[in-house]
């Protein structure tokens, strides 16, 4: 994946198949989130599953679409870690303050 260079030599080309697979998985994850909401899933399982799906989707967006997998570690952690921090923070609030 890293062996192909763009004409400018600045960054690797995003592999077409990789983007399409990411998109398909993101769509499936969204349908899963929606169906879980429709099924009436609530409480602790809902918090864990739905925030877990959000983290997986966030990884797809930041690492694949935003191309941070080729980026400096600081930015990968800062932008990619945002969803993880959000999931931990919101998960804690929901699990320990609300439910």
């Amino acid at each position: 994946m890293c062996s192909t260079k763009s004409p400018s030599g600045r960054a690797p080309r995003p592999a077409k198949g990789r983007l399409t697979w990411t998109w398909c998985l993101l769509l499936l994850a969204t349908l899963l989130t929606w169906q879980l909401g429709e099924s009436g899933l609530a409480g602790r399982p809902a918090v864990l599953v739905l925030l877990g799906i959000a983290v997986a989707k966030g990884w797809g967006i930041t690492e694949q679409f935003m191309e941070l997998r080729h980026g400096p570690l600081l930015w990968r952690l800062l932008i990619g870690g945002w969803v993880v921090v959000m999931a931990l923070l919101l998960g804690s609030i929901f699990l320990f303050l609300s439910v």
């Binding site: 077409k16 989130t33 909401g37 966030g58 679409f65 929901f94």
Partner: protein, 236 residues
């Protein structure tokens, strides 16, 4: 001829060692590359697409949305029954369709970046147009949701839940609106590139940087919605 002059140690018979060190990537980018040979290692140095300022802006935006989300969670913990009851009044299907639209828009924009790097500017313009379409679709669906709520007499002062629902989603709505304008400008720029290419002129030097910066912003709008949708529409 190259190694012997640049590195005296190589003249003493250490050329294989030097070659190995270079291949292992220990020397770094500042080592002058030999034009007649392929790159020593397939591993590229880290590259941040687009402009650094856009990434700083994205980090600041994510922080603001993060504070909003935490405030939603804490306020909800004081009104759990109210939040659960009024969340059930939301159109979850509209929220899910909007998620699909944003994700598809992000996919289109990522494809546009890839096409522009291949100098396939016509293809890039079409992908940007697809992204633009998904963004407008999002705005139309969200506008329909707002119209329904306003018709039902719901305002910011109706309840803490609706205060958060309206302000949080409208703040995000404005980001999508800005993103749609950015995508429209990028589309015009890409058509310009296509025209220059057709006339045999050199494409503008900064076009790729601008496209990557706009794309990063658009993905950020998508990323925020990935947390906003389950938080406001689904989690209870």
């Amino acid at each position: 001829m190259f190694q012997g002059r640049r590195h005296p140690i190589a003249a003493m018979g250490c050329l294989p060692l030097l070659a190995w060190v270079k291949a292992a990537g220990w020397v770094g980018r500042h080592t002058p590359a030999m034009p007649s040979r392929p790159p020593p290692s397939p591993v590229l140095p880290p590259v941040l697409p687009g402009d650094l300022a856009v990434w700083v802006f994205i980090a600041a935006e994510l922080l603001v949305f993060g504070v909003f989300f935490a405030a939603y969670g804490v306020t909800r913990s004081h009104h759990v029954a109210l939040f659960n009851a009024q969340q059930a009044e939301l159109n979850t299907l509209a929220g899910a369709v909007n998620t699909l639209l944003l994700l598809s828009g992000s996919y289109g924009v990522a494809q546009a970046v890839g096409a522009a790097r291949r100098e396939a500017y016509g293809v890039a313009a079409r992908w940007l147009l697809a992204g633009l379409g998904t963004g407008i679709g999002f705005l139309v669906i969200k506008g329909g949701e707002y119209a329904d709520k306003l018709a039902a007499g719901i305002t910011l002062s109706t309840s803490p839940f609706y205060m958060f629902y309206l302000s949080l989603t409208f703040f995000h709505f404005l980001h999508v609106l800005a993103g749609v304008i950015v995508l429209a400008l990028l589309f015009v720029q890409m058509r310009g590139q296509q025209g220059r290419q057709a006339r045999g002129e050199r494409p503008g030097a900064t076009h790729l940087n601008t496209l990557e910066s706009g794309a990063a912003y658009w993905h950020m709008v998508d990323l925020v919605w990935i947390v906003l949708f389950p938080l406001v529409y689904v989690l209870h």
